[in-house]
């Protein structure tokens, strides 16, 4: 085995008293590609952030080339020869490839003139682009490049800074299959030159395709790892899921009906979703599983009229929607809880009452003047806020930004409950909230379906879907690849359906 270049030894890290990383240790060697896999929240990004100097470990040590390495900022990491390539790229679309590569420090004419040495950066950029197989003149604006090409430019930039370790975080999310293959070829070429790479991905097929070693994280613990050949896909999946599903979910006493509440037929939008059809019934919780980028949230946004679609039909109850916009969907009794609570779900600078009232204002106003019946509105807002159990009664004074994540989410749920929705689309309803609040959200969902509401439940947490849903739809690459009934729920099988395409690629 080649020389060890980086060693993590017992790294631990807590945020606000919650341990997110517990005694993680592994080693990286020159000319090795190490795959780091795990579910959301398993500690992958925390590990990355500690290596990049964005967070500091509470305990444990890192050794780089046999010397202790304790970065306190991105600069330290860069100087030590670590380069990071994130899902969102750090490129300036309005500048050329060569300018992007050298923006942190341009070589100057005659060494000291304040003029950029175009000759030299052009030459050097050509060399770097050759290494990553990008055939564009160095002066091409980055805005003209595809996502995959930009990814490669980022790698060229890392090489220009003499990076010896390159960390890639979900780099293929927005790439086509062909671009992904090209990226892997380049990664293999870099490996041959002795550069070490850490590759983080949800797509196990890709990880098995390109990595030499694989380490699996779960709940902040390193639960297994080894050479690729010793880590077949079913081992990886059972390591990743691992947990037993305990009594985390409140019992539900009601059964779903067979009355259709939402019928979706052949919804297609190129590059996003393809031919999606399903029926959601009154009193049913229909889960949607899938990997990041499988098109789950995109589907939800299309159904609520936030994004366009090219073909297909959406019917609520027995009416087919002729116009699909948030207003129209709401008129037909739909509600939508967005995955981006801060950005789209709430007005953080406004009070609980104002947030709760917003979607329902028209119902409390005279049609001609728009005059709001304030006391009736306030009474109903208070009632619904009590129902979702927000831990304050100062609905009219408390700003939403001062609430905890769980209570904020309850405000979002409350604002839709005020409209008494018939179909409720929940996109990651428990993301970023603590266990207690999760339980309360589950209870509200159970109450709703008991009253006949139909719930579309999108989640990245497998056990949550298994614990809550009557049926689970599985999406992969914008298509529905399977529907699982409650009696046949099995997390490993669902994960397999979710990765169907990738497995096919490997085989």
């Amino acid at each position: 085995m080649a020389a060890e270049i980086l060693r993590l030894d017992g790294l631990s890290k807590s945020f606000f008293g919650v341990e997110v990383l517990h005694a993680v240790s592994f080693a990286l060697h020159r000319g090795e590609i190490l795959g780091l896999v795990g579910e959301n929240g398993s500690g992958k990004s925390t590990t990355m952030n500690i290596l990049g100097g964005i967070h500091q470990a509470d305990a444990g040590s890192i050794t780089l080339d046999g010397r202790p390495y304790r970065p306190t900022g991105p600069r330290d990491a860069q100087e030590a020869g670590l380069a990071f390539i994130h899902q969102e790229l750090n490129l300036f679309e309005n500048l050329s490839i060569e300018e992007n590569i050298f923006i942190s420090g341009f070589p100057r004419r005659l060494g000291r003139l304040p003029l950029i040495d175009r000759g030299r950066i052009g030459q050097r950029t050509r060399e770097l682009l050759d290494m990553v197989d990008v055939r564009y003149p160095p002066a091409t604006p980055v805005g003209k490049l595809s996502q995959g090409e930009r990814q490669l430019v980022e790698i060229a930039k890392a090489l220009s800074q003499d990076a010896r370790i390159i960390l890639l975080d979900e780099p293929t999310t927005s790439l086509t299959r062909r671009e992904t293959e090209k990226l892997f070829t380049i990664m293999e070429r870099l490996r041959a030159q002795g550069i070490a790479l850490i590759y983080i991905s949800h797509i196990l097929g890709d990880v098995l395709r390109v990595c030499d070693t694989i380490q699996v994280l779960r709940d902040g613990h390193l639960v297994g790892g080894g050479p690729r050949d010793e880590m077949p896909i079913d081992t990886l999946i059972s390591l990743m899921v691992g947990r037993k599903i305990e009594n985390l979910f409140p019992p539900r006493d009601t059964e779903p009906t067979t009355v259709p509440a939402l019928e979706v037929e052949g919804i297609t939008q190129s590059g996003v979703v393809r031919d999606v059809s399903f029926t959601l019934h009154e009193g049913e919780v229909l889960g949607v599983a899938g990997l990041m980028g499988a098109g789950r949230s995109e589907l939800a946004r299309i159904l609520f009229g936030l994004d366009p679609f090219e073909a297909g039909r959406i019917a609520v109850g027995d009416t087919t929607l002729t116009e699909v916009s948030p207003e129209a969907c709401m008129r037909h009794g739909m509600a939508f809880l967005t995955e981006d609570r801060r950005g789209e779900g709430l007005m953080m600078e406004a009070t609980i009452a104002d947030n709760t009232a917003l979607p329902s204002l028209r119902a409390y106003a005279r049609s001609l003047t728009g005059w709001i019946a304030r006391s009736r509105l306030e009474d109903d807002v208070a009632e619904v806020s009590r129902r979702v159990q927000i831990n304050t009664t100062d609905y009219r004074g408390m700003l939403v930004k001062n609430l905890s994540g769980g209570n904020q989410q309850k405000v979002v749920i409350g604002k839709w409950l005020l409209r008494q929705p018939k179909v409720f689309i929940l996109d990651e309803p428990t993301r970023g909230i603590d266990v207690g609040a999760k339980f309360e959200v589950y209870k509200i969902v159970n109450q709703l379906v008991a009253e006949g509401t139909a719930v579309l439940f999108i989640s990245s947490e497998m056990e949550e879907l298994i614990g809550m849903c009557d049926r689970i739809l599985v999406m992969s690459h914008g298509e529905i690849t399977g529907i699982h009934e409650r009696h046949e729920f099995d997390s490993e099988r669902i994960l397999e359906t979710a990765m169907l395409k990738n497995l096919a690629d490997v085989a």
Binding site: L306, T338, L346, M348, A350, I372, L399
Partner: protein
Amino acid sequence: MLRTAGASGNAATRTAGGVRTRGWLERLILSEYLVFYLTTAYFLAVWPIVPEIATASSLSNMLTDMLPLLVVAIGQTFVLIVAGIDLSVTSIIAFASVVGASVMTADGGYLGGSPLAVPAGILTFLLIGGLIGWFNGFCCTRLGMPPIIVTLTGLMFLSGTAIWYTTGHSETSSIAGLPKAFVLIGQGSAYGVPNALWVALAVGISAHLLLGHTVFGRWLYAIGINRKAAEISGVPVGTAILWTFVISGVCAAIASILFTGRLETGTPVLGQRILLDIIAAVVIGGTSLAGGKGKIVWTVGGVLFLVVIDTSLKLLGMSLFVVFAVKGGVILFAAIIDAMRQRIIMRG
């Protein structure tokens, strides 16, 4: 009362942990009526130095100065609440003034001498304001152009057009000979109260009710605070923003009626100098350029503050330069107070 914008002061004192008591200075800075306290304090401070400021004639002068400015500023408040800006208001004032005058004037106006001249003239003013506002709003919402570009272009284009239009209707640089009944709107009074004040009161009260008590008003604050969240909650964002520009245009047209009536002529350079005063007044009142925050009462305070300072400095025999410098200082002061306010709120 809409809490989002209204009670940032007392709401901010409540955090998840409970109520914290604040020092009087912090309370004062956080008060949404700070500008009224400052105006009063300033007024009381200069009173002994220039007793003339409290005479009836000086007070009534201040009022006449203030009213048209207030009406435009009220329109601007709507646009700023949705995080837009309308720089075209002064050019609307000028353009409406000359076109409206050309309809009514006895010297060859389209309806000169006709009994319909005054109502038709007033309608012309309002239509011009509304249509230009609608066009601004259309460009900003349906074509996705930034408000500052749309209205800046409008400003330059309309100012030029107003002058060009005047040359086609008059030998001089303005259009005189307006009907008596029209002039009375700017100069006369009813029940001992100037007509202009009746107009401003009507505009102010309707604007206040519209913002504070109707669905439309609440939508505007929601759009200003978080446009995406508003959209997802079913707010017709584009239409609502479009209407703010129409309101701003109509308010500018009403101000133009008051100005034109006072001067008895349609003038293509009317209001040219007050553009930045309008925006300054609204911002001093506490309305945020970033949107989501603003009230008609605050705007009244901001306009009052600027006018009191203007008048007092003039009475003190100060020249133009002091007026300018003090205005600049006041704007900077208001901005710094706002920054402090944010910092105090952040601290919780």
